[in-house]
Symmetry: C2
Subunit: 112 residues, 2 copies
DNA sequence: TTCGTCGTTCTACGAACATCGAACATCGAC
DNA sequence: GTCGATGTTCGATGTTCGTAGAACGACGAA
């Protein structure tokens, strides 16, 4: 959003990323974004209130996991895969594989 | 830990592991154990009270990150590297590399 | 301008967490 | 049996987290 603080690639901290990826909703969001496509905020579906979804997206953004871009009145979210892979090689892939196998965050998805 | 519950390899959950590895003290403990050697409880040094250290070791154990063995009145702790690598390939290595580079948990060590 | 949409922020609350000191249980040594 | 060492557990405390609803600010459309 407006005061969005996206950490630079070399400012991304592993503890923050681990913390961000220890919640099922947030892992679900990452899974949805894992195809590399940018998604509109309103496209995202999660079993939580709007304010809670905003909170989770903020945690991901602050940790450096996602990037949020504002365009007019709406936002687009994207996974910072390149930055994460460069900084923590193998981490994202490991989490995605495990989450996929366990079905974690399966209740997070996209609008029909 | 007489009632120590060590999850089986296939019971280890990625969210629990991520949560366990999102605290600097616990990451420091994992770094100390990363050489694969089993360590005595009393050998471990961390800037927290004994009860707090016990708590952190329990979190790691419950998550399946470490294994605790009791021998008489003392305990020995060990990293479950094989199980973690088998279940979440690349995860532990990624975290250890990042933690090492950032000096996370550097205040955790071994008795002289 | 007025209205409605979009997403954030504020406020609040219960749950979970990190922390400590004290009390406890267990075991080996004397 | 008694003592000391070793970890765990309990109780308390302050903090952080996940959650929701309400209010807000920014923008586009009518």
């Amino acid at each position: 959003m407006r005061n969005a603080r996206h950490p630079e690639r070399n400012e991304i901290e592993v503890l923050s990323v681990m913390g961000a990826l220890s919640d099922p909703i947030r892992v679900g969001l990452v899974r949805v974004l894992a195809d590399g496509r940018e998604r509109g905020w309103g496209e995202l579906r999660a079993p939580v209130a709007k304010s809670t979804l905003s909170h989770h997206l903020r945690v991901l953004r602050d940790a450096g996991v996602t990037r949020t871009r504002q365009e007019g009145t709406r936002c687009f979210v994207e996974l910072r895969r390149d930055d994460l892979d460069a900084r923590f090689p193998g981490l994202l892939a490991a989490v995605l594989t495990a989450a996929d196998a366990a079905g974690i965050g399966a209740d997070v998805g996209l609008a029909p």
